[in-house]
Amino acid sequence: MAFIDIDGIGKTFGHFQALTDICLSIKEREFVTFLGPSGCGKTTMLRTLAGFITPDAGTIAVDGRLLSEPGAALPPEQRQMGMVFQNYAIWPHMSVFENVAFGLRIARLPDAEVSMRVGRVLEAVGLEGLARRHPGQLSGGQQQRVALARSLVVEPKILLLDEPLSNLDAKLRERMRVELKALQRRTGITFIYVTHDQAEAMALSDRIVVFNKGRMQQQGSPRDIYERPANLFVADFMGLVNRISGAWAGPSQVRIGAHVLDVTSVASSRTGAVTVASRTGAVTVASRTGAVTVAIRPEALVPVTGPVEGRNLIEGTVLDSVFLGNIVDLSVDIGGAELHVQADRWCTLATGDPVRLAVDPAECVAMENE
């Protein structure tokens, strides 16, 4: 039995359908990220978990204990969760110590234990010596740590994090990312993390759940979601992608202009009409006719000179070549489509040069047009 069971959660605000039929099982000690653009429902789902929002449909249970059901929700203070807010929500009228001690004081722990536990958690997040400071005297990174310490000190079983790094500058964000991951491993707390930043999601998560328009689009490991997106939205959201229109030319072949590519198919979550054809063996599918879109990541296309065993080969002409330091960005005309290619930095192709691109069929993901 899963630790957290989210079963069929739905929520509307007025006429706005914020969440539709969210079903999710989360294991203890898992680091799960809700990923999606703003307004996709990820924060609504997190706040429903926290008990700030009462669902219209579905249930949430933790450890077999029912927390939310349609029209009723256990109040947040009785859920034994912690939460880190996007703006940190540090109380400006309290010192760092008082902020962190708040939860313990509410639980009426003796003063000696409060001091000890606050001291320990401040040390754990790297804030030793700042206990007497007031929030106004802290940097953004330090406020972030106070927020973490405040939610960790009560030893929650689940920590909810709502875009906690989005207000930090790029360097600090990278450092906090590493610290968060280490903290999660050390404490064994189940982390549920909300972000719109796919790089952050991939760096941190055991599992990513992609949201769009209030619906779950796909869930899986970072690699799964990047390499085998369930639909065009996920493919687009997880990074740069070439979307090429073509037509089915065989059970696992798509014709694009003069080229015929071997492709991998992934079930469209919307229609469910196509089953998976993977590297290990093609599976025939009913609706293999008509228009189709093939998604190929730019770094999967490699300029080569000779034929390569088991790869699709695409001939084309370089339209533009830009040296970016670590990579060379190419635009390649393949007759009927233009491909974005990220070649390694030793690539010396120039505008007008003919080029031959090799790509693994597993990297060519065919998707039903939406």
């Binding site: 039995m1 899963a2 069971d5 099982s25 926290a50 008990g51 700030f52 249930t59 249970a61 077999g64 204990r65 029912l66 927390l67 939310s68 059901e69 009723a72 929700a73 256990l74 109040p75 947040p76 203070e77 859920r79 969760m81 912690g82 939460m83 807010f85 996007q86 703006n87 940190y88 929500a89 540090i90 109380w91 400006p92 009228h93 708040f102 939860g103 509410i106 639980a107 007031h134 929030p135 106004g136 953004g140 927020a147 405040r150 939610s151 009560v154 909810l160 207000n167």
Partner: protein
């Protein structure tokens, strides 16, 4: 995955949150909705009958018809004065290099916070047809045999109210002018526009909605100002709607239905005005696009700045310096007709006002406790309504917010009629006690508190309370330990914003007080009728001093208020 076997989630129907907020809603309905309901029922003749004849009488009976016409004329006059005084002053202070701009600004603020019935009293001393100080000066210099100016006239009422309400036009126009970014004017100048062309074709259209909004607000306020209308209008036998309503209820037997119908007419005029004002001010939004980084251009006037200064000085001299000056002088003079000198100086009037005069001393005491009580009730209800509106998803919260704002459109006289009708028949004996005044004041000033607390709550992100909840605090604990401490300065401002007008309230009090529940305003009103000018002035100076000190406190608190929450982000 096993089947869940779990107890159903505990539903908190009667938790402390619902209890506290529910109580506030009941209080709001009791204070505002219930009297308003009675006002409408009363106008329809309930409980005796159900008829529209009261409205018929409101429009056809000569006294009523005249009052209505006078009120409209008054509105037109004060609206015009408000524009003539308010716009040039606002422009001079906001955009010109005229000397003394800060002083002019402060004096306009002073004329705004001075209760207008005190300005009216001051002008009786200054412009009374026989004994008025200015009249006597004019007679001495120019040799008129009588007069020549008489405050007891329609123009007198328009003037006294005009020099109070022009502050609305001034403040709205001033802030609109301040918010025009200089780039807008520079763009016109780069295209070859001359200074006066820029002013006429860029600035004026940009601030026109603010001017119109300010003038309308002045008109609306004028309609409801019972004090000057009674103090100057009654001796001159010029009747306006509020004084007519007062007369209708003071007659024997009181004509409740007619008074209610007249009240509704006054409310209709106010609501139409407020609707128009809102319409004009909403169009103003494009002026403020500049946001915080606004740099405004100062215009050099050369020699003209002295002419402008003369005009501005004249206006504020009439609106603030002369009335407050003459009240102060009189309060400290043995003989108010004699010129000020050391031998004419006395503190005796303050002695009688504060201690020996029964009515005055009781009035001061009552005003303090009523203002404090009403401020507390209004703040509490306002806070709850603002919280409901901003922090919950309660259905009908928008209606509650409207209801809490409704008294803003209700003149004090109207509020009093509603409260009278609502509570005169109720078995709980509050009619004739100080409680009925507390109800009327709380109801009247709930909008001020609601708006103020709402502004405070908007600055405090909801996540601060939520962080408390998820860390284990109940709703009550997160209110007590997080929201209230953070909102404290804002709550104090809300308290003061109600306390100040409640302290000097006249227009509702006059209909609701009885012997024993006189307030400071009633003491002033009645002692003036008895001709005790010096004691009246001592009370007036005391009132202005209290109001001034508390207004300064509000100013300081509001300025500091933004500081602590800045760290929250």
């Amino acid at each position: 995955m096993g089947q869940l076997i779990a107890a159903p989630v505990r539903r908190q129907r009667f938790g402390p949150q619902n209890l506290v907020l529910g109580l506030a809603i009941l209080l709001l309905l009791f204070l505002v909705a219930y009297p308003m309901l009675w006002l409408v029922l009363g106008a329809l003749g309930v409980p005796a009958e159900l008829t529209l004849s009261n409205f018929d009488r409101a429009f056809t009976r000569t006294q009523n018809y005249t009052a209505l016409a006078n009120t409209l004329y008054l509105g037109l006059g004060t609206g015009l004065l408000s524009m003539v005084f308010g716009v040039p002053l606002a422009w001079a202070v906001a955009r010109s290099d005229m000397p003394g701009r800060q002083v002019i600004h402060l004096l306009v603020a002073l004329s705004y916070i001075t209760p207008p019935y005190l300005t009216a009293l001051a002008y009786i001393i200054l412009l009374g047809p026989d004994a008025g100080l200015i009249n006597r000066l004019l007679r001495a210099v120019f040799g008129f045999s009588s007069g020549p100016l008489n405050i007891f006239s329609m123009n007198g009422v328009i003037f006294v109210i005009g020099i109070h309400v022009f502050a609305f036009t001034y403040f709205l126009t001033h802030s609109a002018l301040k918010s025009i970014d200089k780039s807008l004017e520079e763009s016109a100048q780069v295209l070859g526009a001359k200074r006066w062309q820029t002013t006429l074709r860029i600035n004026l259209p940009l601030v026109a909605p603010a001017i119109t909004g300010g003038v309308l607000l002045s008109v609306i306020d004028s309609l409801a100002l019972f004090g000057p209308q009674a103090i100057i209008g009654m001796p001159a036998q010029i009747v306006f709607l509020p004084t007519r309503i007062y007369a209708t209820i003071s007659s024997y037997p009181p004509r409740w239905g007619e008074a209610s119908a007249l009240s509704l007419v006054l409310v209709a005029m106010t609501i139409i005005g407020l609707g128009l004002q809102r319409f004009f001010l909403e169009r103003r939004s494009y002026v403020t696009i500049g946001g915080k980084g606004v740099r405004s251009q100062t215009i050099r006037l050369g020699g003209w700045r002295w002419a402008l200064l003369a005009f501005c000085t004249l206006v504020v001299a009439m609106s603030a310096v002369a009335p407050i000056g003459v009240l102060t002088l009189t309060a400290f003079s043995k003989d108010w007709i004699a010129p000020p000198s050391l031998s004419n100086f006395t503190l005796a009037h303050f002695g009688s006002a504060l201690f020996s005069d029964q009515v005055a001393a009781r009035g001061i005491y009552n005003s303090f406790r009523l203002a404090a009580g009403a401020a507390f009730v209004a703040m509490a209800v306002g806070a709850a309504i603002a919280y409901l509106d901003l922090r919950t998803t309660l259905r009908g919260r928008v209606f509650l917010d409207y209801l809490a704002m409704l008294p803003l459109g209700l003149p004090g006289t109207v509020m009093a009629v509603g409260v009278l009708l609502a509570f005169i028949r109720l078995p709980i004996g509050i009619y004739g006690t100080i409680w009925i005044l507390l109800i009327a004041y709380s109801a009247r000033f709930i909008p001020l508190a609601t708006r103020s607390v709402s502004a405070t709550l908007r600055q405090i992100d909801a996540s601060l309370e939520e962080a408390g909840r998820i860390t284990g605090a109940s709703w009550l604990q997160s209110m007590r330990r997080i929201l209230v401490p953070m909102a404290r300065p804002g709550l104090l401002v809300a308290f003061l914003l109600v306390f100040i007008p409640a302290f000097s309230e006249l227009s509702a009090t006059i209909l609701l007080y009885t012997g024993g529940t006189e307030t400071i305003a009633i003491a002033i009103y009645r002692l003036n009728d008895l001709g005790q000018i010096e004691v009246v002035c001592a009370l007036a100076v005391f009132t202005i001093a209290v109001v001034l000190v508390l207004s300064a406190l509000v100013h300081v608190l509001s300025r500091d208020r933004t500081a602590p929450s800045e760290g929250v982000g």
